[in-house]
């Protein structure tokens, strides 16, 4: 997995590339913990995320909980396979998703 960060004012775009699984979800959590101070809008660009497991979902849920307190969060360009997992777990209803 690779994470690309782009900060425009108070908008942070995180592009997640590859696979978000138990072996690397901690890395995303670490990035979130160190990057979200002062961020009002968090956008995940998931065009190149091809696989997500429960460890990755947990990281996304933590981000959503935090952003609900300080602004907003959305998932953008969600891949079909990832979308299925989001729907299966009810995450699709908890999060704002832009196709």
């Amino acid at each position: 997995m690779e994470i690309k960060k782009e900060l425009n004012g108070t908008t942070l775009i995180l592009k997640i590339i590859g696979r978000l699984d138990a072996s690397n979800a901690q890395e995303l959590t670490g990035t979130l913990n160190s990057s979200l101070d002062g961020v009002k809008e968090l956008i995940f660009d998931l065009a190149d995320l091809k696989y997500v497991a429960s460890a990755g979902l947990r990281a996304l849920l933590m981000a959503q909980k935090r952003m609900n307190k300080q602004g907003s969060m959305k998932l953008r360009h969600v891949d079909e396979t990832v979308m299925e997992v989001l729907e299966m777990t009810g995450f699709a209803d908890l999060m704002t998703i832009e196709k």
Partner: protein
């Protein structure tokens, strides 16, 4: 039936996944089925690797077998760690709002959603988890 024994560590996840997905690729399974199986294998294996022998390290043996009509794969995970039946886990409430959403329990829920049959047995000091998926 083929079997594969490996030290149950998180680092070995790719090798375990490969043991299963390589066969599915040979059988021309769809990408969708392969991804679902990757997810199932990851969730089961990560549980074993994280908890079964903690704080020590033990081994896990994985068996795979196939049927042709209808096409299906059966996979069994066997470990000698702490007794644990993941199927006893209550499913998370997937309709809960964000504040009530629990962080845990999602892994085994995803497993159940992506297999056709699953069973657990504790026998001779071993945890035996078997699932079947049609493809």
């Amino acid at each position: 039936m083929e079997k594969f024994t490996i030290e149950a560590t998180l680092e070995n996840l790719p090798a375990v996944t490969e043991f299963i997905t390589s066969s599915l690729e040979e059988k021309d399974c769809s990408i969708k089925i392969i991804m679902q199986m990757e997810l199932v294998i990851e969730e089961i294996y990560v549980n074993v690797a994280s908890y079964a022998y903690r704080p020590n390290i033990g081994t896990v043996t994985i068996y795979k077998s196939f049927e042709d009509t209808p096409p299906a794969i059966t996979v069994t995970f066997v470990d000698s760690g702490t007794p644990y039946n993941p199927l006893e886990h209550e499913d998370p409430d997937i309709n809960a709002g964000i504040d009530a959403r629990q962080i845990g329990g999602l892994g085994i829920f995803l497993v159940k959603k992506n297999v056709d049959e699953i069973s657990y047995e504790r026998k001779d000091g071993q945890n035996i988890l078997t699932f079947k998926k049609f493809f």
